[in-house]
Amino acid sequence: MSKPQNAPGDVRSKGLVDYLNDENVRAVLYQIIAIGLIVLAGWYLVSNTLYNLEQQNISTGYGFLDLEASFEISETMIDYSAKSSYASALMVGLLNTVKVSLLGIILCTIIGTIFGVARLSSNWIVRKLATVYVETFRNIPVLLQLFFWYALIPSAFPHPRDALEPLPGVLLTSRGMYMPVPEPDNAYTFMAIAAAIACVIIYFVKKWAKKRQDATGKPFPMLLAGLGIFVGLVFLAYLAGGAPTEMSMPALKGFNIRGGYNISPEFMAVLIGLTVYTSTYVAEVVRSGIQAVPNGQWEAADSLGIKRSVALRKVILPQSMRVAIPPLTNQYLNLTKNSSLAVAVGYPDLVSVSNTTMNQTGQAIEAISIFMSIYLGLSLLTSLFMNWFNKKMALVER
């Protein structure tokens, strides 16, 4: 919005009033006022805060991160004890957040897709069941669902003494689920390296296959070949590592179960709650994604003589993905943010650990700023990814 410049013949000299009536000058003025007010308010809040902190004898700064945390965390993915620093406690919390979010994202995608497709089923009863599932669980607050699962799990399963054993080695108790896991061995490191190498090889084979198909039109069975490369390499690494078979089996020792891998009731409650709640949103995204592809696309594929299964994979899905991926990413982000509710059921996620840290050290501002910036970082990364993806998937218009 630019204002027409003064005509060349205009000899009137500009007074103050003229300047104030100039839209551009005014815009600058408004902005200076706005920024000034914000800076003023910020300065006021900061000076109040500093004064209050001084009154309460709380030192500012992140120095507390190196101090001994002196609290235990029930679930850790890295070495941690009460003697570790606050920094590593927060790291444990972050890893726990990532663990439950990643698993939740995978599970809610699977469940959500099933229910999303089921809502479009031609089968009346399946359609209605899916609708009931979606409408019920999306209209109940997720925190209520978490509380419910957290109350249900310890009381629905027996004391470790009489643990249920639905599968050999898998124990269900009021203290969570126990699963057998392989004893640590070098072979598993080899397998991880082999998996990484396999991914690189698959990437290059895929590039070559696309080039060949573009040039000659010959398709390459990429899915089979990729699976073969991956499974083959990982299996070879397993054999090369000496094919260890030793497992750590959970077993009752004294009053508790030792060995194996324990999935705590807190973790289960958070995971089930988040998965069920978010899957209803994913189902809606999937449904609208599929519905967004016009019927003419199916017909076009039919008239080109493309098989239905191929048409679904190569014509319909890529187009519905374009519609579905941005809202899907939003839902993943929501799930990650909602994982902070873990604090309510005592799963030691980032917010929960920060909360303990905050209560012990009194460093509220620092602790809140840490978890806020981590969540913010995650969101920014996701929106960067979404922008990149949207650009990649955008319709190429003439």
């Binding site: 902005q31 706005a34 089923s121 209209n139 925190l143 109350a151 809140i368 969101s379």
Partner: protein, 367 residues
Amino acid sequence: MSENAKLPPMPTGSFAERAVAWSKKNLFDGWFNTILTLGSIAFLLWLIPPIVEWAIVNATLSPTIEGCAEVTGACWGFVNANLRLILFGTYPFDEQWRPLLAMIVLMGIICGSLGAVKYPGLRKAIIPMWLIGVPVISILMWGGVFGLTYVQNSYWGGLPLTLILSSIGVIFAFPFGLLLALGRQSHMPAIKTVSVVYIEVIRGVPLITVLFMASVMFPLFLPDGVTIDKLLRAQIGIILFTAAYLAEVFRGGLQAVPRGQFEAGDSLALSYWQSMRLIILPQALRLVIPPTVNSFISMFKDTTLVVIIGLFDFLGTVKLALRSDPAWTKYYVEGYAFAAAIFFLICFSMAKYSAYLEKELRKGERR
């Protein structure tokens, strides 16, 4: 439209014939669908009878722990015995008609505001309704005048608190969110940057961090000697949070108004605020009514998070009732089911209404 092109053939034949034809088409169309149907029926047979047996057949309403111990089914007596604690929290027992009345007034205003979309006659009443309603609700809840005893807001709780936190949150966030949305569309770089940063930062963090900030950091922000209580801090946190989400909703509406409308305003020599008020916003806000209702629904559900900072909203009072007597603790399923049912009723009906509004508002575009 294509809907007219493929109208299904009119069903013919007797009821039985039509029923058979319908189930052939909708339930047993091919072997895969038959398996799905049979599987679903088996699933329902497995799921429904035990639930009915538990919730109705073997249940009791007897409001005593002894009465509940006698039955194998649900102990609705827990809800029955603690109903007033669950609904109104620790509000003084003899004064509980006040939160009840406040809740009814608030629900009336909410329904009136939502109904205004359908009945244009109500539209002029929206702002007066809130201007009168909010003070009435405050007087009812706080008291201290007209012979009502003063009730500190640390005693507020239950369903009225949930409704107040979420609706006041949305009402106050409305103008703030609108300003943010306009700021984001602004041509002035400083204003735009400030709005974008605010919106993106708030939307990037979970509500619980904003609530923690409100409950822990706000007291530090204030000058010495000034304090605001926990409820107000949570309310401010909710308003700040909701505003960022509403801003994005409004942005969607503003972007949907064709460019020509802005140009029309300019060519009539209307000022920015005039053209916004007279041309752009009436069109934009009409478009954003359904997503605003959806924001309200998610706010209503998210208000439960105030439990974590120690307020007793509807979910908090259920937990309070469960803890009130160790003997009740094991009836958490009944307690949570009751809360879930209330939340579901409110959220589901609002969601349906919002979907209906969306259809209504599109009527003009349909040919």
